[in-house]
């Protein structure tokens, strides 16, 4: 493994860690707010109902989180978590570009495209 590759691995490692920590902070904060307001959680998970619209879309989640609602904050943390591997793949595109490794630039771009498609709801 050459130097450039090693540096790429190191940045990638830091990226992953930062994403997870950031996500955990939001989820934890949201959890505290959520539990403080609902001391006895009464939601029935035995029956599947699906989440309301505002907790499903990226814009809806940001709106809920900015309103400092517990569930919105948790969901924002989860969104950051889902975005972490995506950011990692995006970074890989740049790293392979830097190494002029065209085969892998194409490979990572395909993966990135699929992930973005999924996050937008995977309609189709």
């Amino acid at each position: 493994m050459d130097k450039a590759e090693q540096r790429m691995d190191e940045i990638m490692s830091r990226l992953l860690r930062t994403g997870v920590i950031l996500a955990a902070v939001f989820v934890f904060t949201g959890g505290v707010v959520y539990l403080a307001r609902h001391s006895t959680p009464t939601i029935n998970y035995r029956v599947f109902q699906g989440e309301p619209e505002e907790l499903r879309t990226v814009s809806g989640i940001f709106h809920e989180a900015l309103a400092l609602r517990g569930r919105g904050l948790i969901q924002l943390g989860l969104l950051i978590l889902i975005a972490t591997p995506i950011a990692r793949v995006a970074f890989s595109v740049v790293a392979f570009l830097y190494q002029r490794d065209w085969t892998y630039v194409v490979v990572t771009l395909i993966v990135l495209g699929l992930l973005v498609y999924s996050l937008l709801g995977g309609r189709g």
Partner: protein, 264 residues
Amino acid sequence: MGALVAGFLGALTGLGGGVVIVPLLTVVFHVDIHYAIGAALVSVIATSSGAAAAYVREGYSNVRVGMFLEIATTVGALVGAMLVLHLRVSVISLIFGVVLLYSAYASITEHAHSSADGGPDRIATWLKMDSTYPTENGLESYHVRGVPQGFGLMFVAGVLSGLLGIGSGAVKVLAMDKAMKLPFKVSTTTSNFMIGVTAAAGAGVYLARGYIDPGLAMPVMLGVLAGSLIGARILERAKVKVLRMVFSGVIAVLAVEMIYNAVK
């Protein structure tokens, strides 16, 4: 507490926490399997990313192999996540149980580890997959083989991941360990590295569909994360044999439980 144990075992075996979390939530806490899968997928990303951060830096993971195979797993995950809508809960549980049982069986029967290096392979060489990994005797190089078989298995792994909310680490490790002849530690760590991306593809669809509930995902994710942080530290010291034992035992017990409940 259960989530903490799940994360610990998940990170340790390259399995992802999902296989432990889904049965635990559905069997013990009677949570609807859709919510359980949603929460598991999220925690799987957390485990994978948290553990991968450590492994990538230590040079175990093969980033190129992982990247290439992620095409197969993400497509699979999208297919799997869309399939969930059309399957009944008992069918999902049954598939879950069978998959677990197969994983346990496969890892027990393989006594002799196929570490014999098969020499360079045309496709793998073209994709620059051959690499090195740290051992007790310093860096050791290895060759990658069976790229098409590995790719096919990865698609299956992706479908299962999206469908069942698991990391499909078992199938991924199988694909890399058996079909592609990667060293075991490289297989488990690269698998861990890929799991996050695969799960993210599935989780995106689940989030948009409203399958991810914050109240449920919160304790599961935090517990798993704590567990995985400890798990990643132990792998370096753990022996491959011990890893296998843990790996097989856990999944066999859970498999029987799931199948029993699905058929009941």
